[in-house]
């Protein structure tokens, strides 16, 4: 019994220990720093001045920008990934090839992805050159660093499409073909099979896909830095600027806390929703 427990502890220790040391401890440190304790620069004392300093336009704009990119990317990607997953579900000519090609962005780092798309969307990039050459436009369109962040969304969708596709394909795969056949047999047209059977049965997968992409994009640094608007920046970019440009480590810690806990909040919402959906399936 004792050796069993010892073995168990030894098995858990490397993974759990690593996570605890570098994640839980780091998060705790950041939280403490945001209220002035364990300060890296200057003296340590309990204070809410860093939090109060956040209550300005820059922070709020950055927060809203990150929220917009997060929600926009999560649902924007879904618009493309779900129909694609439905299409790829049935093996037919070419689906395997399309399925492989589509996974490429998954293996391209975010920064590289941003640069790749940059070449296409830049002022003198491929798309503008093509549109000019075809005579569709007479002046190049500004598609990069636009205030809204369209290009960030485009790059995020490109980058996250295969990721959602993998999750959704696995979900659709788990739906029995018999169930779909039963619906067709009972008089449901292909569209109504999707609406009444496939869509509700894949809801848990859709939820996972949306929440995970939200968390990935909400805290994005690289893509916003390269292709995002000059103002506002994303929370991560703002955090970097505060820490390394303005030397405001306390404020940076606050932003870090906001990013972490916003993500955790969405995970919690997701967990609740997933449980509700699982109840329905039972």
């Amino acid at each position: 019994m004792r050796t069993d427990r010892l073995t168990l502890v030894l098995l858990i220790l490397p993974g759990a220990g690593f996570i605890f040391l570098f994640l839980a401890a780091a998060i705790a440190m950041t939280v403490l720093q945001s209220v002035g304790l364990y300060s890296l620069v200057g003296e340590s004392k309990l204070t809410f001045e860093h939090w109060l300093s956040l209550a300005d336009r820059t922070f709020i704009d950055s927060f809203l920008f990150s929220l917009k990119v997060g929600v926009g990317s999560a649902f924007g990607t879904l618009i493309f990934s779900y129909p694609l997953a439905l299409f790829l579900r049935r093996r037919r000519f070419g689906t395997q090839l399309i399925g492989s090609i589509i996974k490429i962005p998954l293996f391209v780092p975010a920064l590289v992805a941003a640069f790749l798309i940059l070449n296409v969307l830049a002022f003198h990039g491929i798309l503008n050159s093509a549109l000019l050459g075809l005579g569709i436009i007479d002046r190049p369109l500004r598609m990069l660093n636009d205030k809204f962040g369209w290009n960030v969304l485009i790059i995020q969708i490109w980058k996250n499409l295969p990721f959602q596709l993998l999750i959704l394909s696995a979900t659709l795969e788990s739906i029995q073909t018999d169930v779909e056949d039963a619906a067709r047999n009972l008089g449901a047209s292909p569209w109504r099979v999707i609406r009444h059977v496939i869509l509700p049965l894949s809801a848990p997968g859709i939820l996972i896909a949306v929440v995970l992409v939200f968390i990935l994009t909400f805290g994005d640094y690289a893509i916003t830095k390269v292709a995002g608007p000059v103002y506002p920046s994303s929370l991560s970019v703002l955090m970097y600027t505060e820490a390394f440009t303005l030397q405001q480590w306390g404020a940076a810690a606050c932003i870090g806390v906001v990013i972490t806990f916003a993500s955790l909040l969405f995970v919690a919402i997701y967990a609740r929703a997933a449980r509700a959906v699982a109840e329905i399936g039972r």
């Binding site: 018999d178 169930v179 039963a182 067709r184 009972l186 008089g187």
Partner: protein
């Protein structure tokens, strides 16, 4: 069961005309011709891979035949998609919608047909009574036993009043006791509704018990079609003889109009096809053999008892007749032992010549 569910108004027969279906290089269904009369229950029986399920799925419209025609009544259905066919299928896995309640599952077909709400309610109520599911309407499939799920699948199918009812091994996930009970219920319901039914199974007992006619299939082709008793008593091929119950199959040569010479003796055979010359096979059932005193009658097989198996209502004997293994069923009064040399008589009207 309640007697309020009326028969379906617009039932029609089903015809298959030289239907062929390939999977890559494999011919799953190889020229099937079949006429099913209005209200008849016909079973497709055969081992896995014989083409029975493929045939059923073509009738449902899940796949199209490569050649040949499928007709409901006079109407050619080849290019009609499944949701416009008005068939209803009971799946082996039941294929209930896990996210819907029992009532919603049963309502699905009516909803797709845009039946008015009041009529939906009435018909769902009838169907629930028919399969005795009262009180379980609000449950989800995951909260039901296998037998209850099977009933929901059945109710969901009949409530749509299909032209053709399809069963794909509907009982194979039930335990033996329940299988016999549900088998009877399905048959009774089908007769009452008078709905044309195509039923797929690999279980010969189930096929014998439930069918008006049985179609025995092998390697994508029809081996024989007939009433259960005809098929059991008069199989025309050794495959049918062997698949429908146990059979003793012995090779030999024709030695006269109704006489076959085999390594284990000469057998006079029952009426039927006139024999030409050359090699033939004969077949009879284990229960048609009985122990006789030495030197009696014709159609005698001398065999050594290799095994005695007590099976409750009868005793099964494993026999060796000059190297040919045979099986016999004798009554429980049998007092022989392993190693005994005995004579068995086989009545000539029970011996069939098979291909």
């Amino acid at each position: 069961m309640c007697a309020c569910a009326a028969g379906f108004p617009a039932v029609s027969g089903l015809r298959l005309r030289n239907v062929v279906r390939h999977y890559g290089g494999f011919t799953a269904v190889d020229g099937v011709d079949l006429d099913i009369a209005k209200g008849e229950l016909v079973t497709l029986l055969g081992p896995s891979g014989c083409g029975k399920t493929t045939t059923l799925r073509m009738v449902a419209g899940f796949m199209a035949p490569d050649s040949g025609d499928i007709l409901f009544g006079e109407r050619r259905m080849n290019d009609v998609p499944p949701h416009r066919r008005n068939t209803a299928m009971v799946f082996q896995s039941y294929a209930l919608f896990p996210h819907m309640t029992v009532a919603e599952n049963i309502a699905f077909g009516l909803k797709m047909r845009k039946i008015p709400a009041a009529e939906q309610t009435r018909r769902i109520g009838e169907a629930i009574d028919t399969v005795s599911l009262r009180g379980l309407e609000a449950r989800r499939p995951g909260q039901l036993s296998g037998g209850q799920q099977q009933r929901v699948a059945l109710a969901r199918a009949i409530v749509t009043q299909p032209d053709i009812l399809l069963f794909d091994e509907p009982l194979s996930n039930l335990d033996a006791k329940l299988r016999e009970k549900v088998r009877l219920e399905i048959r009774e319901l089908q007769k009452r509704l008078g709905v044309t039914t195509l039923y797929v199974t690999h279980d010969q007992v189930e096929a014998l018990a439930i069918s008006d006619r049985i179609v025995v299939m092998n390697k994508g082709r029809i081996e024989q079609v007939g009433a259960p008793e005809t098929l059991y008593r008069s199989p025309v091929t050794s495959f049918v003889a062997d698949f429908l119950g146990a059979a003793n199959i012995v090779p030999g040569t024709a030695a006269g109009d109704h006489l076959v010479a085999t390594p284990i003796g000469r057998f006079s055979v029952g009426p039927g096809r006139k024999l030409g010359g050359g090699p033939v096979k004969i077949s009879w059932r284990p229960e048609d053999m009985r122990v006789v005193a030495p030197g009696a009658e014709a159609n005698i097989v001398g065999a050594r008892v290799r095994g005695v198996v007590f099976c409750g209502s009868f005793i099964e004997l494993v026999l060796d007749a000059a190297g040919q293994q045979l099986r016999a069923q004798v009554d429980t009064g049998f007092r022989g032992r392993e190693g005994d040399m005995l004579d068995f008589a086989v009545p000539s009207d029970r011996v069939r010549v098979v291909e």
